[in-house]
C-alpha cells in the first residue's frame, strides 16, 4: 500500500465511499425484495409507496448495513491486498469475490448469533442473499477502481 500521507488519505476516503455505496445499495436491494413480497399480497402497490419505503429504509436501515459493511469490506480489501501475490488474480476479482463471500459468511454468523432465525428479511431467500452479497462486492470493486485509477487524486496506483 502507498506510504505517503496523501495516499493513506485517498485510501481512507475511497474506503468510506465504498462502505457507504455498499450500504446504500444493499438498503435499496433489501427494500425492493420486501416490497416485491408485499406487492404479491395486495392488489396494487403504487409507485409512491415504493419510493416512500426505499427512502424510509435509506434513513432507517442503512445504518444496520453500515455496521455490517464497515468491518466486512475492511477485511475483504485487506485480504485481497495481502493474497494478491499468492493468488494470481486481478485485484478487482479478489476484492469482489472476498467481499461477496465474506458477506455470505457474515450473514450466516449473524443469523446464528441473533435471537431471530434471519435478521435481514431480504436474505431469507438465496436470491436475496446473493443480491446483498453483490452489493458488498460492488463496494469493494468501487474501492479498487477509485484507488487504482487515481480518481480521487492526481496520483495513480494505490
Amino acid at each position: 500500500m502507498q506510504r505517503n500521507p496523501s495516499g493513506k488519505g485517498t485510501m481512507l476516503l475511497a474506503y468510506i465511499i465504498a462502505v457507504i455505496v455498499a450500504a446504500v445499495l444493499s438498503s435499496i436491494t433489501q427494500s425492493l425484495f420486501n416490497l416485491a413480497a408485499i406487492a404479491a399480497l395486495v392488489e396494487q402497490l403504487p409507485l409512491r409507496d415504493w419510493l416512500y419505503t426505499i427512502w424510509f429504509d435509506l434513513g432507517s436501515f442503512t445504518p444496520t448495513m453500515l455496521v455490517i459493511m464497515t468491518p466486512l469490506l475492511l477485511l475483504a480489501l485487506l485480504a485481497s491486498r495481502l493474497l494478491q501475490s499468492i493468488i494470481k488474480l486481478p485485484r478487482y476479482w479478489l476484492a469482489t469475490i472476498f467481499s461477496a463471500l465474506g458477506f455470505l459468511v457474515a450473514l450466516l454468523a449473524i443469523n446464528t448469533l441473533a435471537p431471530m432465525p434471519t435478521l435481514i428479511a431480504a436474505s431469507r431467500s438465496l436470491g436475496g442473499s446473493v443480491a446483498l452479497a453483490l452489493c458488498a462486492a460492488a463496494g469493494a470493486a468501487l474501492y479498487v477502481w477509485l484507488t487504482s485509477s487515481g480518481k480521487l487524486t492526481n496520483n495513480h496506483k494505490v
Binding site: Q30, I38, F61, P63, A121
Partner: protein, 364 residues
Amino acid sequence: MKKRLSGCLLVLLASVKLLAAPYQVQTVAENLNYPWSLAFMPDGSYLLTERTGKLKQVGATGEQLAAVTAALPELYIGAQGGLLEVLLPAAFEQNQQILLSYVCGDAKANTVCLASARWQQQQLSDIQQIFKAKPYRQGAAHYGGRMLQLPDASIVLTLGDGFDYREQAQNPANHLGKIIRLNIDGSVPADNPFVAKDGYAAEIFSLGHRNVQGIVFDQRNKLLYSHEHGPRGGDELNIIRAGGNYGWPVATQGIDYTGARVSPFRQYPGMITAIWHWSPSIAPAGMTLYQGELFPAWQGNLFITALAGKALHRLQMVNGQVVAEQRLLTELNSRLRDVRTGPDGALYLLTDSANGQLLRLVPQ
C-alpha cells in the same frame, strides 16, 4: 404555622396512600424452568407447563405435587419452542381430559401440535396428537400456541408466522400466522368461516397474525380478544372476528428489527386495524379478563403480561375500546410470561426465566 405544616403532612400521607399499589405480591412457587402457562385445578392446586418440557402440579400452598416429563409425540424443545399451553376444558372434572399445545418436529422441520391427554392421579395418560399445523418450518420462533375454550366448547388455538415465513400469514391455504378453531377432538367445526371455501384451510378462524401470545373471551360482551407481537413496535391488541384478516405483514405499525420497513402500509382496506398497539414493543405474553371479586376497581379490565416490557399492563375497557392503560409490577423488573384470574379472584402470574416463579396478586 404548626397547624399548616400538620395539614400539609396529612395531605402528603393521604396522597402516598392513594398512590400506593392496591395489591401485594405473594410468591406461590419458585424454581420453575421457563414456566409458560397456568391452569387451575378443581381442588385448588395449579397445573402449569414449563417450556422445557415438564408439566407440573403445584399445591395451593406452593408445594410441588407432581413433575411429569410430557411424553408428547415428536416434542421439540428449542429457542421459543417446547411445551406451551395447558388447557383444562369445561368437562375436566368429568373426564380429566386436558389439552396441551407444543412444538413438534425437529430443528429443521417443526410446527405446532395439539395433544389431548388425561391428567389422573398426577400422571399423564392417553396422549393423542389431535392436530398438527401445516406446513413444517425451519427455525424455532413465532409459534403462538395459546388457546382457550369458547362457550360452544370449541377450541381456538393461535399459530405464529414462523418469523421467516411472514408472507404466509396471508396465505389462506396453510396455518402459518392464523388463529384456528377446532372441536375438542381435533375435528373441524362445521360453522368455521372458511370451512367450504376452496383454497382455504378449513381450521382457519382468522388470518394475518404474526405471533399471538394471548387470547381471552369476554363472555359478557361476546368479544374475543387477542394480542400479538409486532416486530420493532406494532404489538397489537385485536378483537377477533370469524373470518377476519388482521393484516400482517401488509398492515403494521412496526418496522423490522433492522430498521427496515416491513410494509409501506399501517392500515389496508379489508384488513382489520388493531384496537390498541404498543410502540415501542412490550412483547405481550398472556392475558386475562378480570372478573374476580378481590379487586372491584379492576372489574372488566384486561391484564396483559409483558416480556420485554417487564410489566403487567392493565387496560380499562369500555365497549371493546381501551380507555386507559396502567403499568403495574414494574418494581419486579421481571419478564412476565402469563397472567390468569384465579377462582379466588386473585391474579396469578408466571415470570419467564430459568428460575421462574408463580406469583399471586392479592389486595393490600
